[in-house]
Symmetry: C2
Subunit: 400 residues, 2 copies
């Protein structure tokens, strides 16, 4: 039942292919055959994900074979590919893995480099179908490696020249971003602007297509510059790169490194930073200190500060940032202390309150924000990205 | 273009409603009207998500109005709901927010408690349509609060009695899990079993429907017991609860608490644990120590151990676990040191190698694994859940 159509549509659009329609197929076999037949009459190219894999009992291959009016046969290439995969893992070929290598007669096997389930390419009616397993990582890799090159070849020059550009922004709600960019369509009729929320970032996708590459590139550059003028320092990157990636690159450029003192974000900032390959160049330490005792013991926060102002205060955040900078000898110390909810709120510190400290060896700044999001997950993420953005501003010399 | 159909289908199935088919609608307005009209002839109930919201320009409302042959009018309930939302946030009603309150004449507004975009309910042809905004959190909350109760009312007793149960498992590949449960359909013909991978966990969904509640419940219990016999200690929970939630509950039951020493998982274990509300009851500290210096300074790892065995070794992992237990005075110390890739591999320690330590005040155990996943994200997640599972086994007295 998993549906990957948003991902597939995005990937295809990035290569300049526009999607006319997506359908998802339920679990009823007869209905699946009908839908595939209908799609074969209506479309030129279709990508189908799911219904293939060890637990999907080969449903889609059976339906495709029925729609094509052919039988399933054991595909030698599919067997070899699965065999390679399991051998490399010291496992053996089971019957259920072999069953997956039964493909419709006349189809072409699409190798799966990261699993045992092959995909296949077959023509039904007028339409070229690409069938992929539903498992996310397998589907994604096969889409990029196996399917898109074949589609580009099928389409040939019909695709035209196209360019896609993504701007990552942070700090404005979607409605505010939309308000600032209201005139975009009027000013840049040949560039399509769309919004993708990767909470808490908002990614702006610019998409242009045409025959004259130079003119298109000029339009794209003008549109990008205009967005910069409108959104200012809310633009994190012109390349779709995330806040944590941009902060990491800035640290590397400055030959600086970073230590974190996290409380309510619970390790999320460290996790985000270390999801970026190569982050060991600049990330040295995070102390996730939930208790006051450990804030004192590890970060050297003053007991009086905790008593007088509380753990969620600019004063404590500043001492946490300074403490973690000192203990790790990092260039920068960044700290977060707040209330992610649902518990922990007090009268003057509601859920969504967060205090952040940014320190280097010489100075420290404290900040306080009140956010208003409906759950813990969103609060942790807005706190984390706000802290990273404050460090980004520090690194770029942008003052709030 | 965002597609939420997997989520919607799952939620509806949990309430006993089976999905015949999903369609997703592209950006072409005329095509959208056609698809809605077609759906109105073919289905009884439809849920449409997306194409409503500040940046979607009300496309779906326009298409629905055209399919119904009516105009859009300003809906007073929709205006009031948006007004409440923005007032609570000290913001004002903008034109773009008001535009979203334009709903097809004759439709019924569906309140949005977490945003400014209302949904609406309208009959097109024979079909009851529920339109929702595409923004994930808004859509999810409205589906549960506004749509499902209305659908249950429309369906009345036709839904019958149903029961859904989810088992969370960890430690077997999907193909192996499927192999062990091969006879399920034969043994329990009235219970439907499906697999949902929440990497690295595999969730087994049991779904039963019938007229006799007692008999159905007995079937469900028998099926659950049978899966336990087949998968043994690979079953983490009978309730769909994640490994981190189960570990947290075990710690709370034992009045124990936990400190972490993370290296390659980069704060992910702390993040997973602290995503669970109430985790401050048992989670006290995580030291994310990327550098050897900080492993020595904060965790008191011996320089000789690091020199002789390296950072990625059972010996270092054991000292990290003991060190973090001591420094935090927690009941348990859990440590992870490994190579998540793409860099960092050596001849005898390939990407995917991970060492884990589990310590209490008296004893410590070290473990070493080699995983073979294709990327950093997957490695971090399999390392994190493996560590949590080892602690779970320790807490339950299960020996490997």
């Amino acid at each position: 039942m998993g549906c990957n159509c948003a991902y597939i549509a995005q990937k295809l659009e990035e290569t300049g292919i526009e999607i006319a329609r997506h359908s998802c197929i339920g679990s009823d076999p007869a209905a699946a055959v009908n839908i595939l037949t209908e799609m074969g009459q209506r479309s030129d190219i279709a990508v189908v994900a799911g219904g293939l894999g060890p637990n999907d009992g080969n449903h889609t291959a059976v339906a495709a074979a029925r729609a094509a009016g052919v039988d399933l046969i054991l595909d030698p290439q599919a067997v070899a590919s699965a065999e390679n995969f399991v051998k490399a893992r010291n496992r053996t070929l089971t019957d259920s893995i072999k069953k997956q290598a039964m493909l419709p007669t006349g189809s072409q096997c699409l190798n799966n480099p990261v699993g045992t389930t092959p995909g296949f390419h077959i023509k039904l009616g007028q339409c070229d179908f690409f069938f992929l397993p539903g498992a996310l990582f397998e589907m994604r890799q096969m889409l990029t490696e196996q399917v898109i090159p074949r589609i580009m070849k099928l389409l040939g020059p019909a695709v035209g020249v196209r360019q896609v550009n993504t701007l990552c922004t942070f700090g404005l709600a979607e409605s505010a971003t939309s308000y600032y960019l209201d005139e975009f369509d009027q000013l840049f009729p040949r560039v399509k602007l769309s919004f993708r929320t990767k909470f808490p970032e908002i990614h702006l996708k610019l998409y242009a297509r045409g025959d004259d590459e130079r003119e298109m590139r000029a339009q794209m550059e003008a549109a990008t510059r205009w967005i910069h003028r409108k959104l200012g320092d809310k633009v994190i990157s012109d390349t779709g790169e995330s806040t944590e990636k941009v902060v990491g690159d800035l640290l590397r450029q400055k030959k600086a490194n970073l230590a974190l003192a996290e409380s309510c974000t619970g390790g999320l900032i460290a996790d985000l930073l270390t999801n970026v390959p190569g982050s060991s160049d600049y990330f040295v330490f995070s102390a996730v200190t939930y208790s006051n005792e450990l804030k004192m013991k590890i970060l050297d926060v003053n007991a009086r500060t905790l008593n007088r102002y509380g753990a969620v205060s600019e004063q404590t955040a500043k001492e946490m940032a300074q403490g973690v900078q000192r203990v790790s000898s990092a260039t920068y110390g960044l700290s977060v202390s707040g209330i992610a909810g649902p518990g922990g709120a007090t009268a003057d510190k509601p859920v969504g309150t967060v205090c952040i400290g940014v320190a280097d060896a010489k100075s420290v700044h404290g900040y306080r924000f009140n956010f208003n999001f409906p759950n813990r997950w969103m609060n942790k993420h807005i706190f984390a990205t706000t802290a990273l953005d404050l460090l980004r501003r520090e690194l770029l010399g942008i003052r709030r």
